[in-house]
Structure formats: structure tokens, C-alpha cells
């Protein structure tokens, strides 16, 4: 899964199976935001095969740890998005109580 050079933990390529642009691009963005990362990118070797290669080069920390921390960050981001979204829907519903008749009419525009 990880193709690294022996002894140099800073730079590594991770091959993720069964993934595509959905996760890889989001990971690449979150990796870029980490100040420990010098370089990061992803490539898809062949579109028919569901495999993504993520390259991470860091300033000193082992690349594996940085990738793990990044995934945790992305998970935190997702949880925050979910919470904020749920609150926003609840607030909207409280301010505009769903009236079944009018919402049916609103659908036909």
C-alpha cells in the first residue's frame, strides 16, 4: 500500500484501492493545507482500474503519520459540515413551518 524509500520516511506514495477522484481530490486539498507538507498530489494510473496513487512529501514527519492526521482532519471537517447543515435545516423549518399544501404547489415551477 505504501511505496517508500527505505530509511527516508518523509516521502512516500500510497496506493489506495477502490477509490477515485471523490476521496482523492478532497484528501489532496486537506493535505495541501497542512504546513508540514512540501508536496502532495494524486494520480489515477488507468481509469478502468479503481486505484489512486497519492504522493506525500513532508518537512520531516513520516508521511504515513501526516496522511493519517489529514484523514482525521477531513473526518472532523465532515462532521462539522453535517452538524452545521442539520442546524441550518432545523432553523429553516422552524422559521418556515412545512405546510403540506403549499409545498406541493411550490414544486411545480
Amino acid at each position: 500500500m505504501e511505496h517508500a524509500s527505505f530509511g527516508d520516511q518523509r516521502n512516500a506514495t500510497f496506493a489506495l484501492a477502490e477509490e477515485d477522484h471523490t476521496l482523492a481530490n478532497a484528501l489532496r486539498f486537506t493535505l495541501n493545507q497542512d504546513p508540514r507538507v512540501i508536496f502532495c498530489g494524486y494520480s489515477i494510473p488507468h481509469p478502468s482500474e479503481a486505484r489512486v496513487n497519492v504522493r506525500v512529501q513532508t518537512t520531516g514527519d513520516p508521511a504515513r503519520e501526516v496522511l493519517k492526521d489529514t484523514c482525521q482532519d477531513l473526518m472532523l471537517t465532515c462532521q462539522h459540515i453535517r452538524g452545521t447543515f442539520d442546524n441550518a435545516v432545523k432553523d429553516f423549518r422552524m422559521k418556515n413551518p412545512p405546510d403540506d399544501l403549499t409545498s406541493q404547489e411550490m414544486d411545480s415551477d
Binding site: M1, E2, F14, L16, E19, H21, T22, L23, N25, A26, L27, R28, F29, N32, Q33, D34, P35, V37, R64, L67, K68, C71, Q72, D73, L74, M75, L76, T77, C78, Q79, H80, I81, R82, T84, F85, D86, N87, A88, V89, D91, F92, R93, P98, S103, M106, D107
Partner: protein, 372 residues
């Protein structure tokens, strides 16, 4: 000049020196010129402005402070909301998951007993697969090759229509699809029939689906009034359809959204004052009525931007000649997304979005466990 600015600001005790305004514009806005948009990429790299002393990294606290969601309209079928403060890669990931990786139930196997209509068997089966089924897919399990169909992973529907010899031709709609909560009724014929054993059907339900609490008073139905086939005199269709759980990646019939898209918030800025006849001209040019005329105190008219959200980027306002491009600046805000989700009816749109975010979290979880 920018270096001394940042130094001066650092001396003044500001923790985070800010970017000069022209760079901030390039970082946060897509500039839509007449020929092509510029500065379209988001500046992701944390050290992009390191030479200016500006930290471009996004800490989670900053994200939490800047992120907000505002719902514009919501109904049982579609919703539109604004998501501000998130990067396009995450918005796109959620859009891709909504289209392709949220499971639904759809008809997969069709057992045709009789089909004398003009619609071929396979075309009929294909059409049946595309009919949306109004049931919560989270209540069901996936059916794999080796499993037997039981009440936890299959829904069975029956269709039996016949057009009479006289009278009118018949249109078979999805209203004719009846739910069979006890499972399949078609018998499997076997070589040696032992009279003592119960005849086997194509599914093995151990209990009836309408005895389950979720479906007790709430029968599973399909979306009504969808034309399946049209029958002439004497033609008949008799079939049984089995629906299973799947994701949009395998086949689009399993996609829970009719469609789902996002666009960036448009920002229209008048860089020069536009008065008098030119203002009238500008207001007429725009087909989306973005501009409005306001009357000034001394009788002159001035153009203002009244509805920037309506801008569709048709670029009519900057088309004729170079002058207009200098006066009107069309921009898009890079981190403000207007998301629209149209559900097919199985799950309400806000539930779909929440599930999509959960799936993105699960993907990260899987990568973490692979790495450890």
C-alpha cells in the same frame, strides 16, 4: 512594496498579516472575462504566500468560524442551500457521492410469465428498473451472488395487465405494480415433485414484510403515473419484479437523486459609475435582470447591481466592445456554493445530504484503518 506592508502590519502587532487586496481578489474570486475565466484554481498550498509572510494553511478553528450553511428552500422533493467557506474539492466530492454512491432500491430481476405486448421483454425490464421505489434503503441489506433472496434484501412487485378485446387500448402505468409482502408467487418447477414438500418460489421469505414494524401501516409503493407500456386489444403482460439494493456507480437506476448540482455565487461589480443612457442600455442588455436603475437626487440615473444571484454568466453585458469589459466585472466567489439537490422520492433531500457526508467520513475511516 508588499513586503514593507506586511512588515509594517507585523510590527503593529497583527498576528496574521493579510494579503494585499489585488492578491486577495485573485485568491478568492474567479474573474470571468469576455474570452475566458482567469484565476480559476483555488490556492491550496499552505506555503503559497510564504514570501509575503502570509500563512495560507487552513486550521480547523478557522474553518469552523468561517463555515456556514443557509437553506433557501426545502420541500419533500428538492432543496437549495448555500454552503460558504468550503473548498470546491469537498463540494464536488459530496456531489459525486450523492450521484453515485448513495444506495437505493431498484428493480433488478424481472421474471416474465407472459408478454404479448409490442414492448420487448428486455426493454420492458429496463423500463421497470428505472422506476423509483419509495422506500428507505437503509432498512435493507445488499444481496450478493451467493445469498438467497429473503425479506431483508428483496422487494417483490407483481404486474398483471390485460387489454380487453373491445373498447379502448390500455396504458399500463406504474400504478398497476402491486407489492407482494409475502414474497414471490411464481413457482420454480423441479424435476422430481415430492407432494409433501412446499412448492419453492424464487424467494424465501421467512416472514411477511408487512409484519415488520417499518412497513406495518406503510405499504411500499413505487412512484405513481409512470407509463410502463401500452397494450393493444388482447395483449397481456404478466410478470414479477424483484428489487434489490445498489449504488449509482453500478447502474444509474440506483441513483437516489434525479440530479444534483452546485454553482458558485456570482458577484457583479461595476468598476466605474454608469450613468444616464449607458445605464439604461446596461439594464436592457442583461436577460436575467441583474441591473437596476436608481434615480439620483439631481435627476440623473445610475445603474446598480440589484440581483447578482440571478447572473447566469451569459456575458451579454461585456460583449460589445472593450469599454464594457472595463466597466463591468463578472466574478464568482470561489468558496460559496449554491447547492441544489432534487431527490427521486425515496429519501428527502436533507437526509440524502447527511448520508453523503457520512459516506465521505467512512471513506476516510477506511483509509486510516488501511494505514494502521
Amino acid at each position: 512594496m508588499s513586503d514593507s506592508d506586511s512588515e509594517a502590519m507585523a510590527d503593529a502587532g497583527v498576528e496574521n498579516p493579510k494579503l494585499p487586496p489585488h492578491l486577495e481578489l485573485r485568491r478568492t474570486r474567479v474573474l470571468c472575462k469576455a474570452d475566458a475565466p482567469t484565476s480559476t484554481d483555488t490556492v491550496q498550498y499552505s506555503g503559497a504566500y510564504a514570501s509575503l509572510g502570509v500563512d495560507n494553511s487552513l486550521r480547523f478553528d478557522d474553518f469552523r468560524n468561517n463555515f456556514r450553511v443557509q437553506v433557501n428552500r426545502i420541500s419533500h422533493e428538492d432543496m437549495e442551500f448555500d454552503m460558504v467557506g468550503v473548498d470546491p474539492s469537498i463540494a464536488n466530492a459530496l456531489r459525486r457521492i450523492l450521484l453515485a454512491e448513495l444506495p437505493t432500491m431498484a428493480i433488478e430481476k424481472v421474471l416474465i410469465a407472459n408478454n404479448t405486448s409490442v414492448v420487448q421483454d428486455e426493454v420492458l425490464a429496463h423500463r421497470l428498473g428505472l422506476i423509483p421505489i419509495k422506500v428507505d434503503p437503509r432498512l435493507f441489506d445488499y444481496l450478493s451472488e451467493n445469498d438467497t433472496s429473503n425479506e431483508k434484501n428483496t422487494i417483490v412487485f407483481k404486474l398483471h395487465v390485460r387489454c380487453a378485446e373491445r373498447g379502448q387500448r390500455l396504458t399500463a402505468t406504474s400504478n398497476e405494480l402491486t407489492w407482494l409482502p409475502k414474497g414471490s408467487e411464481l413457482l420454480k418447477t423441479s424435476e422430481s415433485l415430492t407432494s409433501t414438500s412446499k412448492p419453492e418460489t424464487y424467494t424465501s421469505f421467512t416472514c411477511s414484510q408487512d409484519s415488520m414494524p417499518e412497513f406495518a401501516g406503510n405499504p411500499i409503493s413505487v412512484y405513481p403515473d409512470i407509463i410502463i407500456a401500452k397494450l393493444g386489444f388482447g395483449q397481456e403482460i404478466e410478470l414479477e419484479a424483484h428489487a434489490v439494493k445498489g449504488v449509482g456507480k453500478t447502474h444509474a437506476k440506483w441513483s437516489p437523486v434525479a440530479t444534483c448540482w452546485y454553482r458558485m455565487l456570482p458577484e457583479v461589480v461595476l468598476t466605474e459609475e454608469i450613468e444616464g443612457k449607458k445605464a439604461e442600455l446596461l439594464k436592457q442588455k442583461c436577460p436575467a435582470n441583474v441591473f437596476e436603475i436608481e434615480d439620483l437626487a439631481d435627476g440623473k440615473k445610475r445603474a446598480t447591481v440589484a440581483r447578482p444571484r440571478a447572473c447566469t454568466l451569459c456575458r451579454e453585458c461585456i460583449r460589445d466592445g472593450d469599454d464594457w469589459e472595463k466597466r463591468v466585472s463578472l466574478r464568482r466567489v470561489k468558496d460559496h456554493f449554491i447547492f441544489t439537490i432534487e431527490s427521486t422520492g425515496a429519501l428527502p433531500p436533507e437526509v440524502l445530504f447527511t448520508e453523503a457526508v457520512k459516506i465521505l467520513e467512512d471513506k476516510c475511516e477506511r483509509v486510516i484503518s488501511d494505514l494502521s
